[in-house]
Amino acid sequence: MHTVEVNNLVKDYGAIQAIKGISFNIDQGEIFGLIGPNGAGKTTALRVISTLLQITSGSVKVLEYDVKKNPEEVRKLISYLPEDAGAYKNLTGRAYLTFIANFFTYKNTKEMIEKGITIADLEDRIDDKVDTYSKGMKRRLLVGRALMTDPRLAILDEPTSGLDVINAQEIRKIIKDITRAGTTVLLSSHNMLEVEYLCDRIALISDGIIVERGRPKQLMEKYNASNIEEVFTKVVQ
């Protein structure tokens, strides 16, 4: 059984067709990257898999559950980090993590909060209000929130956006680590270095269609490129 199974997925926003029939599978423990230019449909695809958007046609399965038929079961398995998410402004970082953890009554919430605090790594600022955080601090808190729940599938939309080089590297390491513990990761990114370093497999999406896919190494060989950025420009143009 695949962890994620996307079959001929189509998503319309009213008259705009954002996704025009894409299919891919992700296996357990894999890091799968969706890359593509702005407006290609990456966020839309991630939001469909996260049970946020209704499927126009096609199907999405997460483990044994169909996203359309069993969204509530899927929500127990996943964790979604939106690309421009925020946290409740007048909560402290710790209170925010506690608020989220309390939805997972079937897990050990105390451990969960500790894990979130460790990932966020905000030191004593964790007890300050979210309102006072910098963009990067907020992102770290949200990454902590997304990964602390030990999801079977983590869906991360541009996880390191807004982070400086050091912070971004740290987050990448954390993402790699959680896959060793059995979590599967589906992410989108504009950072080709990140993609190359993190992803086991990638799919290049453009204008709602997957135009290329494979392991980063394979693709570089195929396009005779020295890095994924070159592959990206060659495929998209």
């Binding site: 009213g14 008259a15 946020l52 929500r75 979604y80 939106p82 946290a87």
Partner: protein, 429 residues
């Protein structure tokens, strides 16, 4: 200068959107119609009251009194026999009149003998709103001018009557029939005053709670969207129903706390205003609320608050940010103000059918009307109201939960696909 223009232009463009203009237009329209109804009140005050009279006495002062009555009112019944009282009341009632004035035997003689003359007024009271107090006021004025004219003629005649009687020759004795009850020595004005807590305090407090709690729900939805916390919340293992219920219950609790604070504050305010005759007590006239009544009122308030909040949730799903949330509280404010004014101005029973339907349909009317209705044991109105509002709340909550289950909340595309197609079609041309 150029950059200043640039800023002004952009600001005006942002401020003058349909969302900001429509509420103002509607507001203007509503104030316009309030003005028109005020004119109506003015006319009513100028209109002659419809009454009847029984005059047993034939003295000179009575002749004066009768000529004033004939002059200043529309008389639909008159008699000289005190036994005609019930027939008279019936006839006046049929003619939509409001009072039977009885001037007893010896009226003139008493005054000439330095005793006050007695004018008995039997009131047919229809409702306990402001409109009703205005119409009873016209009769009060009539009695007042009888007293004044008699006094004037006594003084002009230079009669030997002592000054106290000459200045205030007649005494009015009221009996009021209202909702099948008889109230001795109470005029409609006093009864309306006694009911002021029910007629004014409850509607005002209810209106405030709805607006305050309602805008809390709407802005809470707007904040979730503006701060981008909604998406995260919707991917957590939590039922949509729990999210909706949680938000509604939280605001309902806060709303009820406000209700208690307002209630305490406002009742001080009202007693400070000295609205009614303070020594009089509703309970002395069998006009008290039993504990069962309070339970019914509580239920009525509760279901109305829930339906208000559900309605606000529905509006909140349309809110894109904090600014649009402000605009969205407008329909709720209107829905709270309309029944408040109606409850203050008139009794449900006395409204024309179309208005009755409107007032009944607005769920917030019911707790506003409940107290006054319960005092007069109008259980049918209160209980049917509770049933209606409960159904309204359930339906609205189901719609909200449905919206939460679709992706309309996030994509904000309530507009129909067809409409979008049409736009695309026109754009491509």
């Amino acid at each position: 200068m150029k950059s200043l223009n640039n800023i002004i232009k952009k600001e005006i463009k942002e401020l003058l959107t349909p969302a900001t203009i429509i509420p103002i237009v509607v507001m203007a329209f509503i104030f316009g119609s309030i003005g028109t109804s005020m004119e109506g009140i003015q006319e009513e005050l100028e209109e002659k009251p419809v009454i009847g009279y029984i005059v047993q006495d034939t003295g000179d002062l009575v002749t004066l009194a009768v000529s004033i009555i004939d002059n200043r009112s529309e008389v639909v019944f008159n008699s000289t026999n005190i036994n005609d009282k019930s027939i008279g009341l019936e006839q006046i009632g049929e003619n939509d009149g409001m009072a039977l004035i009885v001037i007893t035997q010896n009226f003139s003689k008493n005054i000439h003998n330095n005793k006050m003359g007695e004018i008995e007024v039997y009131w047919i009271m229809k409702g306990a709103g402001i409109m009703d107090s205005i119409s009873s006021e016209t009769v009060e004025q009539l009695i007042g001018s009888i007293n004044y004219e008699i006094s004037k003629s006594l003084i002009e005649e230079n009669s030997t009557i002592n000054a106290t009687i000459a200045l205030n020759p007649s005494n009015k004795i009221d009996t009021t029939y209202f909702k099948g009850k008889e109230f001795n020595r109470l005029s409609p004005g006093i009864i309306i005053g006694l009911l002021s807590t029910q007629s004014f305090l409850f509607p005002i407090v209810m209106m405030m709670i709805i607006i305050v709690a309602g805008s809390m729900v709407i802005s809470s939805m707007a904040m979730e969207k503006e701060n981008k916390t909604l998406e995260t919340l919707l991917t957590l293992p939590v039922k949509r129903t729990s999210i909706v219920t949680g938000k509604i219950v939280a605001s309902a609790v806060v709303g009820l706390i406000f209700a208690i604070i307002y209630m305490v504050g406002m009742s001080r305010y009202f007693s400070g205003l000295n609205f009614s005759v303070q020594e009089l007590n509703l309970a002395d006239f069998g006009l008290a609320l039993t504990s069962d009544d309070f339970v019914l009122m509580g239920i009525s308030l509760f279901v109305a608050l829930i339906s208000a909040l559900a309605l606000c949730m529905l509006l909140g799903t349309l809110a894109k940010n904090y600014k649009s949330a402000q605009t969205l509280t407008f329909p709720i404010t209107m829905l709270a103000l309309v029944p408040m004014f109606f409850t203050m101005f008139a009794d449900f029973d006395t409204l024309p059918l179309a208005l009755k339907a409107l007032v009944f349909a607005i769920p917030f009317s019911h707790p506003m009307m409940a107290a006054r209705a319960l005092i007069f044991n109008d259980y049918l109105l209160v209980v049917s109201g509770i049933i209606y509002v409960t159904v309204f709340a359930i339906v609205t909550i189901s719609i909200v939960v449905w919206v939460f289950k679709t992706d309309k909340l996030l994509t904000g595309s309530i507009r129909l696909k067809k409409f979008a197609d049409l736009r695309k079609h026109y754009r491509s041309r």
